[in-house]
């Protein structure tokens, strides 16, 4: 029986309670969104005592499910003002899964704002809080080292830590999760959840799973058979078996630049002349030349292994191999064509606890203001460090793209719901624009295999530069994504799942064999839909309306070279994305 660990930061009370029956089929994002929906007043202050911070492993995390150890962190976001689920790799989800913890829910906040706390969960389930005031202001790497020094010899633990950006309440602050080697380099980066953690005085969480084995399965044999099928599909498919393990996510830089969809110099062009120099192909070459690691999983049980480390010219660890989104944000978007400069910015964000997507977009608008030049990596690093030091732009940068763009009178500020757009220009990749605009997506009434077939059918017909079919494709992909996030599966399993029918079947077989509940394809898709319903309803009650489901006007008015296109999906079409909500919500008793 999974349980919820509740921590009240107002009085430091820690209690355990059984997972309510209504949430038994939920894990990961489904659970974080359900808890936030149920427990947080939608109009409350995100940094106040009424907000909660929910940390939930996926339904299958802790088991041997291939790529099943993803972690969801949820809260009301101080950046967007709406609900947020931020998803991270790293070891923590598997640790929590093995402990039988469905979620940790932090509520309240300490009266003493200078207090810093660490929650330690031992392998026997004992949970305790300790004061770590001396760690105030320390970077994530220093905190991770300090935790290691406290742990007994031979311990096996993972960490979730908050950097100084979260402690300062910056809206661009993320939360760091340790990887298999203990580096705090995996991030629940988006939405300012580090600031929520900081508002609760929480500096770190330590999860020991020493000597713990995987949780029991309802049907061990069936589970083993299903993971075998699933693993084989992941290894066989060219996306998960070749492209990602060889180059990581940065294989996309050359492709998006060639497509004219790589936002360059604050979204003023779709192609970057430095794409080749910052590409995944080049990243791999340099890393191999320096003796670095070019393939590992971010958690045990990942068979795709898209992670890598970036090492400096002396072969020393600098940061995780920058992901595509980071290479884009500090690379093309800032006109910087040097992977070492990008890695330095990535490391600094990682240590401060800042979201690299938000910060790269922030740097892009700052450069666009003319304060520093596009392409100047040294000036970018100095600007980033100014959030805690001297000079411009200073603290405003920590609150992200919109705050910085407004402070420096920048015309084109690429945000939706106050959060920066990531690495795909919606004018050249219109489907991404639909997703950006609407963020939490709904489903139509089709179910199960119809949805996957539909994704491939629509995906087989669409033109990236035209609006037709984009709403439908985006909607269905988001249902599938929400479902994967709820199970704790990495989203990179999506393509084997879409292309290889046995892989999709294996997912519900794993869920069924593990939990003993009845799962089928329709039930999986329902899980995705219910997750999205909670998110959409919370946002509506927080005051968001159709006007929030829009891209900034310049995407519709300013043509993007080289294709010279604008975003063409109509507002009316965007508004159809959520048509399904009332009916599904009624079915959930949430009308």
């Amino acid at each position: 029986m999974r349980y919820i660990l509740r921590v009240n930061m107002s009085d430091l009370a820690i209690t355990k309670e059984d997972l309510p029956a209504k949430w038994e089929r939920y894990g990961g994002r489904a659970l974080t969104s359900a808890v936030v929906f149920e427990e947080v007043p939608p109009t409350s202050d995100p940094l106040g005592a009424e907000n909660v911070l929910v940390i939930a492993p996926g339904l299958l995390s802790g088991t041997n499910t291939p790529n099943g150890g993803r972690l969801s962190i949820g809260a009301k976001s101080p950046l967007t003002g709406g609900i947020k689920e931020s998803n991270a790799g790293g070891q923590a989800a598997n640790g929590l899964g093995r402990l039988g913890i469905a979620a940790i829910i932090f509520s309240g906040k300490p009266a003493d704002e200078s207090a810093r706390y660490m929650l330690t969960i031992e392998a026997d389930g004992a949970a305790s809080m300790s004061r770590v005031d001396e760690w105030a202001g320390e970077g994530n790497y220093e905190t991770a080292d300090a935790i290691k020094a406290l742990r007994p010899e031979g311990d096996r633990c993972s960490t979730i830590t908050n950097g100084p950006a979260g402690e300062a309440g910056f809206k661009a602050a993320g939360i760091a999760v340790s990887d298999m080697k203990g580096y705090p380099n995996r991030f629940a980066g988006r939405g300012g959840l580090g600031a929520v953690m900081g508002s609760k005085g929480l500096k770190a969480i330590v999860i020991s799973d020493k000597d713990l084995s995987t949780p029991e399965h309802a049907d061990k044999e069936a589970f083993s058979a299903a993971i075998k099928t699933f693993s084989a599909a992941l290894k066989e498919h060219p996306v998960s078996g070749q492209g990602l393990p060889t180059y990581g996510t940065n294989v996309l830089t050359n492709i998006l630049s060639e497509a004219g969809g790589l936002p360059t110099r604050n979204f003023s062009n779709g192609s970057f002349e430095g794409a080749e120099a910052t590409s995944g192909e080049r990243q791999r070459e340099i890393t191999l030349e320096r003796g670095g690691n070019v393939q590992h999983g971010c958690h045990t049980g990942c068979v795709i292994q898209c992670s890598r480390y970036w090492v400096d010219k002396d072969g020393k660890y600098k940061t995780k191999g920058p992901e595509y989104e980071t290479v884009w944000s500090f690379g093309a978007n800032c006109g910087i064509n040097d992977l070492d400069a990008i890695a330095e910015l990535d490391r600094t964000c990682g240590d401060f606890g800042l979201d690299t997507i938000e910060m790269g977009a922030t740097m892009g608008v700052y450069m666009d203001s003319g304060e520093i030049a596009f392409g100047d990596g040294a000036a970018a690093l100095a600007a980033l460090k100014s959030v805690f030091g001297e000079g411009k732009p200073g603290r405003v940068m920590g609150d992200g793209t919109e705050a910085t763009g407004k402070a420096f009178n920048v015309e084109h500020i690429p945000v939706v719901k106050h959060q920066a757009l990531p690495a795909y220009d919606p004018r050249s990749v219109q489907g991404m624009g639909v997703t950006y605009a609407t963020t939490t997506m709904g489903a139509d009434h089709t179910a199960g295999y119809t949805v996957t077939a539909n994704i491939l059918k629509v995906g087989g017909d669409i033109d990236p530069l035209k609006p037709e079919g984009q709403v439908e494709l985006s909607r269905n992909l988001q249902i599938a994504t929400a479902m994967l996030d709820a199970l704790g599966l990495c989203i990179f399993v999506a393509f084997p799942v879409l292309d290889i029918p046995e892989a999709f079947t294996a997912i519900h077989e794993m869920a069924q064999a593990h939990t003993g509940d009845t799962w089928d394809v329709d039930a999986l898709m329902q899980l995705g839909k219910e997750t999205l319903v909670y998110e959409r309803l919370f946002n509506e009650r927080a005051g968001m309306g159709p006007e929030d489901d829009r891209l900034p006007a310049f995407f519709k008015n300013v043509e993007l070279p080289p294709h010279n296109v604008t975003f063409q999906v109509s507002d009316a079409d965007l508004d159809t994305v959520f048509d399904f909500v009332p009916e599904v919500a009624a079915g959930m008793g949430l009308a």
Binding site: L244, T249, L252, E281, L473
Partner: protein, 121 residues
């Protein structure tokens, strides 16, 4: 080389690495007939493994590997293995499907066609 008849060709992912491993550049200029050619012929002249190509960008738009290429075009070969929804959004999935269909219907037609593409690294 007549510069008016050149095509810039880039190779990504595993094609990029294979070229580098062979000591060859991953971006080349090739000369094509005035009336044009198709991407598959260029790939074959470059001795690329066409089986691993999912799509080809021609002037920034993804097509299947049999798409026409004209003098002055810029193309890029993309192997299978593009992650994320972009494989759908950019049309790579569609291109891969078209490749599979054309291979099913006529496996040999292209390889029997004589090519007069010339290559300059």
């Amino acid at each position: 080389m007549d510069s008016e008849r050149t095509v810039i060709v880039r190779m990504f992912g595993l094609l990029h690495s294979a070229r580098k491993a062979a000591g060859l550049p991953s971006t080349v200029s090739v000369e094509v007939p005035e009336a044009g050619t198709n991407a598959r012929l260029i790939a074959l002249d470059l001795e690329l493994d066409t089986d691993i190509i999912e799509g080809v960008f021609v002037n920034g738009i993804v097509f299947d590997v049999d798409h026409a290429v004209m003098p002055g075009d810029r193309i890029a070969f993309v192997p299978h293995g593009t992650p994320g929804p972009h494989r759908l959004y950019l049309g790579l999935y569609r291109a891969g499907q078209a490749n599979a269909e054309s291979e099913d219907s006529d496996e040999t037609a292209v390889t029997e066609t004589e090519s007069d593409t010339s290559i300059q690294d």
